[in-house]
């Protein structure tokens, strides 16, 4: 009985004990909040990445012959699309021509004055077919989105024909008509361009046979609209053109470099459809044979899910989460140290009481559990409050952030840096349970050392002096 009674009494009467509770509280609430944010980031990232990429991507390696056929993969666009769309789980497929290049904004004198800034932006030109593209990716939604930057509506006039010139655009008489492009809303904002702005694209083409540098090409284009996927970073590095325009410019009429595919049920079907497609497309000569079959060169990347192609980014976030877990484990360690320090102090301070307890008939085990209970109660209270605070904070993080940003006049969560316009949080029960039990366990281990010291204190020494 005395253990319950005394541990409770010691804790109540000695406010310093709450430092141990406080350290556990801070650790637990911080752990829960940060884990919720990290999980939120991960899930939100997956959503965004998935939105802008199609479910599957077929990227044939055209310049390596297919062994069994003694031929290069076929470049027949209609053929491969038909072959893919045959599959029941496929709801849409679109050919794309992807080619790297540069965007040369107006006022490019800057190239001269500031060589570091380059004045040019590396981008991918993405030649797409409308409306096939709409059926296989999220481009339509990305074009529909309300513009966030600047006062003007930069969306294309006609979503059915997004590459049509804006109504108020009149090409200069003497020049040949500019080709239309769609660019990321943010990229446009950075370079001060809006619907109707003209700029120059540059690229270099290589001889497909020899790989020799063939010629540099420049092309004046006009922005006919902007888009915004939720993945800001990616929007900075791609520019949409009509596929035939890009193909003509590169001297590859009708060609494609990849086919994007949308599935009816990605989570359920992606594995089976990939293996089906691998067989069908390779036997029809569009991609290299199944890497599972021995004796052939392996080209697993020719057929990938969006997760494969963004694998490193997803893994980076996962990895960050693990790293964070380790760092936060250190937070727990510090919290455990708090419990240890306070309880050690308690034991030193209560030497005399320990001696009296022994004289009155306490066993070492009883005294051990008395002090363990103090650590345990501290931990439980800190843990419970920490869980409460952590979960509450996780649910109200955006309000808290807004308030803090307001109070300090500093944007804590810079929406321009991240891909999200709010701080995403996901509170998982398993995470809370893990954190809660880890914190209590840490506290008990930390409490064990001073408690053992108390249990084996010599009562005679403890009682000797006032």
């Amino acid at each position: 009985m005395y253990r319950y009674f005394l541990s409770a009494r010691y804790i109540i009467m000695r406010p310093i004990n709450w430092i141990g509770t406080l350290s556990i509280f801070v650790a637990v609430s911080a752990l829960i909040l940060i884990l919720a944010i990290m999980t939120g980031f991960l899930e939100e990232s997956r959503k965004h990445l998935r939105g802008h990429l199609s479910d599957l991507v077929v990227t044939p390696t055209f310049d390596i012959p297919i062994h069994s056929l003694r031929a290069y993969p076929s470049r027949d666009t209609q053929g491969i699309l038909a072959e893919i769309e045959k599959h029941p789980g496929v709801v849409g497929a679109a050919a794309q021509l992807v080619y790297p290049g540069m965007l040369v904004p107006p006022h490019s004198e800057r190239i001269m004055t500031n060589p570091n800034a380059m004045g040019m932006v590396m981008v991918n030109f993405l030649g797409v077919d409308i409306p096939a593209e709409y059926g296989a990716t999220s481009l339509l939604e990305d074009l529909k989105k309300e513009v966030m930057v600047g006062p003007f509506d930069q969306r294309p006039d006609d979503l059915d024909d997004p590459f049509a010139y804006p109504e108020d655009y009149y090409p200069v008489e003497d020049a040949r008509p500019r080709d239309p492009i769609l660019m990321g809303e943010k990229l446009a904002a950075i370079w001060g361009m809006r619907k109707g702005s003209e700029l120059e694209l540059a690229t270099a083409t290589l001889d497909p046979e020899t790989g020799a540098f063939l010629q540099a090409g420049n092309r004046r284009v006009v922005v006919v609209g902007t888009f915004r996927s939720s993945f800001n970073e990616m929007d900075l590095s791609r520019i949409y053109l009509p596929r035939e325009v890009l193909a003509d410019w590169l001297g590859r009429p009708g060609q494609y470099s990849q086919v994007v595919v949308k599935l009816q049920n990605y989570e359920r079907d992606n594995k089976s459809i990939i293996s089906d497609l691998r067989v069908d497309l390779s036997s029809a000569g569009y991609i290299h044979p199944d890497p599972e079959k021995p004796g052939f060169a392996e080209f697993p990347w020719e057929l990938q899910t969006w997760e494969n192609s963004r694998g490193s980014m997803l893994a980076a976030i996962e990895n960050e989460r693990a790293l964070l877990g380790i760092m936060l484990g250190l937070v727990l360690l510090v919290a455990g140290f708090g419990v240890f320090a306070i309880l050690s102090m308690m034991v030193s301070e209560k030497r005399r009481d320990i001696g009296i307890l022994t004289a009155l008939g306490a066993t070492p085990r009883g005294i051990l559990t008395l002090f363990l209970a103090i650590g345990g109660i501290e931990a439980l209270v800190g843990m419970a409050l920490g869980v409460l605070a952590g979960v509450t904070a996780a649910h109200n993080i955006n309000g808290i952030e807004a308030w803090l940003s307001n109070a300090f006049g500093y944007q804590i969560f810079d929406r321009d840096i991240y891909y999200f316009d709010h701080i995403p949080t996901v509170v998982e029960l398993s995470g809370i349970v893990a954190i809660a039990s880890a914190s209590v366990l840490t506290a008990l281990i930390a409490a064990a050392v001073p408690s053992l010291r108390a249990a084996y204190l010599n009562p005679v020494d403890a009682l000797r002096y006032e």
């Binding site: 009985m1 009467m13 009155l360 008939g361 005679v460």
Partner: protein
């Protein structure tokens, strides 16, 4: 614990060195210490404090222990109270060899059979007078067992505190009590479980003469009423007349044992 408690009934007082004080019969043996030695190791030196002490304490006996400071009185008391293990020798309490018992059994002996009163009261600063008094009962029982008996123990504690004139101080913490009051609470605590043995190490050493006298009277009165074996360490030679037996310690041994109290 019951077996130990039952022992108390047996063995009617028949002792060779029976103490005759105010007509009381010598009681049965409560503590029997034989050949107690205690030495401390300090560095590579061993310091011998007790060089073979024999001592018996009987039921109803008032035994006073005197001696110069540093002569080893407290050391001996700790050994007799099973708080300290002798380097050599045997201590039996209630017929049980204290150091061959398990730790738990020994703790039970201390809890049920020995009451301690210290010079510095040694009350818990966090508990009030009543709670301090109840502590031995809390140590004796687990949570539920204690809850079941709480009422009786509380009644008993209140009765003791009333008897000691502390009825107005029940909710006071030690910090708000005078030395004499604290010592009276400590005696109430020592007596709560009705132990047959009471060990008091200079219980008045920290009190002025008048207060010390009230505390002593109280201690003697309880000893008589309950027929306790009282082992009292004191520096006050005048107390000798009020003891059944006085032992003088010198250089780690008991020099003289006087059955006839010297008049003070």
């Amino acid at each position: 614990m019951n077996d130990l408690t039952d022992n108390m009934a047996v063995e009617p007082g028949a002792s060779p060195e029976a103490a005759q004080h105010q007509g009381r019969q010598p009681g049965r043996l409560l503590i029997e210490a034989k050949g107690i030695r205690r030495s401390y190791k300090i560095g590579d030196r061993t310091l011998d404090i007790l060089h073979g002490v024999d001592l018996n304490l009987r039921q109803g006996e008032r035994l006073c222990l005197m001696g110069a400071s540093g002569s080893g009185k407290t050391t001996l008391l700790n050994i007799l109270g099973l708080l300290d293990k002798p380097t050599k020798g045997q201590v039996s309490v209630q017929g049980l060899d204290g150091w061959s018992l398990s730790t738990a059994k020994r703790a039970e002996l201390r809890n049920n059979h020995i009451g301690y009163v210290f010079q510095f009261y040694h009350l818990f600063a966090e508990l009030n007078a009543l709670e301090n008094t109840l502590l031995p009962a809390m140590l004796k029982h687990g949570f539920w067992a204690y809850q079941a008996r709480k009422k009786q123990y509380k009644e008993r504690a209140l009765e003791l505190l009333h008897r000691f004139g502390l009825e107005g101080r029940l909710k006071h913490r030690p910090g708000k009590l005078s030395g004499g009051e604290q010592q009276r609470v400590a005696i109430a605590r020592a007596l709560l479980l009705d132990p047959p043995i009471l060990i008091a190490d200079e219980p008045t050493g920290n009190l002025d003469r008048a207060t010390g006298e009230t505390v002593l009277q109280l201690l003697f009165q309880e000893q008589e009423q309950r027929n306790l074996g009282l082992l009292l360490v004191t520096h006050d030679e005048s107390l000798a007349s009020r003891c059944d037996r006085v032992l003088h310690m010198e250089d780690g041994i008991i020099q003289s044992a006087s059955d006839q109290p010297t008049p003070g």
